[in-house]
C-alpha cells in the first residue's frame, strides 16, 4: 500500500501515532513483567542496550541520506532532538526517584502521566498550535482517561 493511498483514508500522523500506541502499549506490558528489581539507573542502561540495534540501523539510514530534510536547520534540529533525549531520560530518573523518596506509585504514576498537559500548554504558547472544538473536548477526555488508566 502506498503512503498516498493510505493517507487518503488515514492521515499519516494518525497512522504513526497509532503505531506508537501499539509499541508503547506492548512496552507497558513487558515492563510490568520486568520492573521488579530494576532501579532508575539500571533501567536507563538497559533501555540504552535495547535501543542500540535501532541506533545502528538509523545511523545507516541517515548516512544513506534522508529525503526531504531541510539542511538549513540541521544543527538546531539536532540540538532539539538531543535535548529531547536528555530531558526525557532525566525525567525518567526523576520519576523513579519520586518513588524512592516515598511517593506511592498509585499517586506518582497517574500524576506524572498527565505530562501532556504541559506539552499542550507549551505548544499553544510557543508553537502557536490551534485546535478544533472537538479536539479540545478530546483533550479533556484524554486527561481524564490518562489519569484513570494509570491510577
Amino acid at each position: 500500500m502506498s503512503e498516498t493511498s493510505r493517507s487518503r483514508r488515514l492521515p499519516l500522523w494518525l497512522f504513526w501515532s497509532l503505531v506508537t500506541i501499539v509499541l508503547w502499549g506492548t512496552w507497558g506490558l513487558v515492563s510490568k513483567i520486568a520492573s521488579d528489581g530494576v532501579d532508575a539507573y539500571m533501567n536507563q542502561l538497559l533501555f540504552t542496550v535495547g535501543i542500540a540495534p535501532l541506533l545502528i540501523f538509523v545511523s545507516w539510514k541517515v548516512r544513506k541520506g534522508v529525503a526531504g530534510e531541510n539542511r538549513e536547520g540541521r544543527n538546531r534540529g539536532i540540538f532539539w532532538a538531543f535535548l529531547t533525549g536528555i530531558l526525557g531520560g532525566v525525567g525518567n530518573m526523576a520519576y523513579f526517584e519520586a518513588m524512592v523518596k516515598g511517593g506511592k506509585a498509585s499517586v506518582v504514576t497517574p500524576v506524572t502521566a498527565l505530562f501532556p498537559m504541559v506539552t499542550v500548554l507549551l505548544a499553544l504558547i510557543f508553537l502557536k498550535e490551534r485546535l478544533g472544538r472537538l479536539q479540545w473536548i478530546g483533550l479533556g477526555l484524554a486527561f481524564v482517561a490518562i489519569y484513570l488508566l494509570n491510577a
Binding site: I21, G25, A34, Y41, G50, A81, A142, L149
Partner: protein, 145 residues
C-alpha cells in the same frame, strides 16, 4: 514531600519533550531526530555509569524483558517522531499517544489474566472517545471565507 518535587520535575521535563520533539522534526527528518535522541540516551547512560552506582545484580528474565522493553520503547519514540514529522500537532500527538496504557490494560487482561478495575474500565471507555475526538483535525479555513 521530596517525592513531590521529583514527580513534578518528571511531569515538566516529559511535558517539554513533546515540544522539543516537534521543534526537532520541524527542521530535520524523524530518522535524524531519533538518532540524536538515541545519542542523548547513550550520553546519559555513560554519565550514569560514571556518577551513579547502578545495581548490577539482575536476573536473566528481568534483564531480557528490560532490554526488550527498551527496544519497544525506542521504536515507539521513533514512530512518535514520525507522527510529528508527518504534520501531527505536538498537543494532539503527545496527548493521543499517552493513551497507550489502554492497550497495556487490554494486553494484561488477555495475556497476564489480570482483572480490570472499575477505574481502568472507565478509563478505557473515556480513552477510546478521547482518541476519536483527538483524531478529528478541523478542516483548514478557506481563503477569503
Amino acid at each position: 514531600m521530596a517525592w513531590l518535587g521529583f514527580a513534578i520535575l518528571a511531569l515538566v521535563l516529559w511535558g517539554i519533550t513533546g515540544v522539543t520533539q516537534k521543534l526537532s522534526t520541524n527542521r530535520i527528518s524523524s530518522e535524524r531526530s531519533f538518532l540524536w535522541f538515541c545519542w542523548a540516551m547513550v550520553a546519559l547512560s555513560a554519565a550514569v555509569v560514571v556518577i551513579a552506582r547502578p545495581h548490577w545484580a539482575l536476573g536473566t528474565t528481568v534483564a531480557v524483558f528490560s532490554i526488550a522493553g527498551g527496544a519497544l520503547n525506542g521504536m515507539g519514540a521513533w514512530t512518535s517522531f514520525k507522527a510529528l514529522e508527518s504534520g501531527g500537532k505536538a498537543s494532539i500527538v503527545i496527548s493521543l499517544i499517552s493513551l497507550f496504557p489502554l492497550l497495556t490494560v487490554v494486553l494484561a487482561v488477555a495475556l497476564l489474566h489480570e482483572r480490570l478495575t472499575g477505574m481502568q474500565m472507565a478509563g478505557a471507555v473515556v480513552a477510546i472517545a478521547a482518541a476519536i475526538l483527538l483524531s478529528l483535525e478541523p478542516a483548514p479555513a478557506k481563503v477569503g471565507a
